[in-house]
Amino acid sequence: MAESIIKRYYDTLGEGKLLATNCLDCEGYTFPPTTACEYCGSTDLEFIHLSGKGKLLFLSHGVAPPPNARFVDIAPYAYGHILLEEGVYVQGIVTGVKPEPEVLQEIYDRGPALVEPDIIELQGLKILAFKMV
């Protein structure tokens, strides 16, 4: 039986976990998951979970009102570029940060901060966000 990977990703997120694939040919992680390895194109994959822990490399913010109405209540939100400890780059909302120029400049000057997942729910959808630890 074919199974939707996208559905599985969101179901897994609902359980507090990050679904990825591990390539059995080149050992590369593909996140978010697809049907082919992003490094070598192999379809010989196994599902794994990433820790979601990593370093916040850069921090920016979105606009208000946001183009996507799902985020209207939290816009303008902080939005980060993150390197997970498994070596995967990801972008996501960063909770608990005021996206003001001085705050953003200070975070940039301080350098990479440790983050962990903060899975939030907005208008019925689980969303992978991060928080600084």
Binding site: L57, F58, H61, V63, P67, Y89, G92, I93, I127
Partner: protein, 430 residues
């Protein structure tokens, strides 16, 4: 026999170009009441006139229209225009790679000619971004669309499985790339911010001299003085140019406009019939990916497109490029993409921009149309307009924004939402 993969089996030349003014069909007198098909026909018929060719001599056409369904309430754009450009009963195809469409389309047209199936192909694009037809009304009866709604619909082109539902902030991607650039070359954010603002100043300076750039009437120094700022740098950091993120500001981002562009390509062995000195299309490359991981200024997807194009063109980018247009819907590309594309050595572009070397009269000109910030951004039509500009620069037709000496090798790089990158290399004959 054609021996080498990644090259053209038959030479391809550009014999005609056309481009409408870029403005707003609700407001600009030059474009008032114009519809999608009329704008496209305007550009296409102008290209035919430029080539000295009749529609009956053209074998096929390609039309790009990115927001046809989600904004213009129409699909089947090929049928929409066939009658209007005199090409009834000929092959016509609609295609899109979003905002790189008419760069990609030039490659498609060239491949159709290089295959030997066609000798002459017309390729063009059209977009109306500021308005849409009133419900159930013909397209000249329009209503304005808000910027929020425009961007919401445009973001249908972003990954709808993961990235966009996860809160993707497109302007933040500019910030990340700028921060990665600053880190890599030991710059402060203020230095990168200055490079961004100087790129916008250069674009405006070029755009004011481009009669097709309707939205641009005044250079920044003049605008600053009118608003009471004697210091341009201070004006570019004032309330008139608010931050959209950590670094990027309003004037660093594209202004949506309406317009159309068209280009006619011909087998090089037949091109002399139409033009004594056609511009040759010597290389191109395209690449696509969802670039979740690229904001460390790695840009593997972009490197791939440039490499394919230079491999086909057999040029050394560090030595041979006289003019480069980069996709500047966010002007960080003036230093990021020009370095990936070998127009500058790594880490050198930001300073060249601040020194004013990238304006039309500098030694390293970029985006003499005015770029997407000052000619404006008409989604599927803009890449073609940028190629039209390169051709006109190479022919020496650009009046008070003419690059001197006329460029002999030009490179045009574009992004399409998603992302798709297409790179085209043009060369004028001796």
């Amino acid at each position: 026999m054609h021996k080498r993969k990644g090259t053209l089996a038959r030479g391809v030349s550009i014999i005609g170009v056309g481009c409408t003014p870029f403005g707003n069909v609700l407001e600009s007198p030059e474009l008032k009441d114009m519809t999608e098909r009329e704008l496209f026909s305007w550009a296409a018929l102008e290209a035919m006139e430029d080539a000295g060719i009749e529609a009956s001599e053209i074998d096929a056409f390609y039309i790009a229209h990115c927001m046809d369904e989600v904004l213009s309430h129409q699909f089947a754009a090929y049928a929409m225009v066939a009658d209007w450009i005199g090409m009834r009963n000929k092959p016509g195809v609609h295609f899109e790679t979003a905002c790189s469409s008419t760069n990609t389309g030039l490659s498609l047209a060239a491949m159709a000619v290089a295959s030997g199936v066609y000798d002459i192909v017309l390729m063009g694009g059209v977009e109306i971004t500021g308005s849409h037809p009133q419900e159930k009304m013909p397209a000249h009866m329009r209503e304005a669309i808000s910027p929020g709604e425009l961007w919401y619909r445009t973001n249908y082109g972003a990954d709808q499985a993961y990235w966009y539902p996860g809160g993707l902030s497109v302007s933040s991607l500019c910030d990340f790339t700028c921060m990665a650039y600053a880190k890599k070359y030991g710059l402060s954010l203020e230095q990168v911010e200055e490079a961004l603002n100087c790129a916008s100043i250069s674009n405006r300076r070029n755009g004011v001299r481009n009669p097709l750039a309707l939205l641009t009437q005044q250079e920044f120094p003049e605008e600053a003085r009118e608003r009471g700022y004697s210091d341009l740098k201070e004006y570019m950091r004032s309330k008139y140019n608010p931050k959209m993120g950590t670094i990027m500001r309003l004037f660093n981002a594209a202004s949506p406009v309406d317009g159309a562009s068209a280009i006619i390509v011909c087998a090089s062995d037949l091109a002399q019939k139409f033009r004594k000195q056609p511009v040759d299309y010597i290389g191109f490359g395209g690449a696509t990916a969802i670039p979740y991981h690229e904001f460390e200024a790695q840009w593997e997807v972009e490197k791939s497109a440039f490499a394919q194009a230079y491999n086909m063109a057999r040029i050394n980018p560090y030595k041979e490029i006289d003019y480069m247009h980069v996709h500047d819907c966010m002007v960080n590309t003036h230093f990021v993409s020009t370095e990936i594309g070998g127009y500058f050595r790594p880490g050198e572009a930001w300073r060249a921009i601040i020194e004013g070397r990238t304006s039309f009269d500098g030694d390293k000109p970029i985006s003499t149309t005015g770029g997407r910030t000052s000619m404006g951004h008409a989604w599927a039509a803009s890449a073609g307009a940028e190629i039209v500009e390169a051709v006109r620069q190479m022919r020496g037709e650009c009046d008070n924004r003419q690059i001197k000496p006329f460029p002999r090798v030009s490179v045009i790089q574009n992004y399409g939402h998603g992302i798709h990158v297409n790179v085209s290399v043009l060369k004028s004959q001796e």
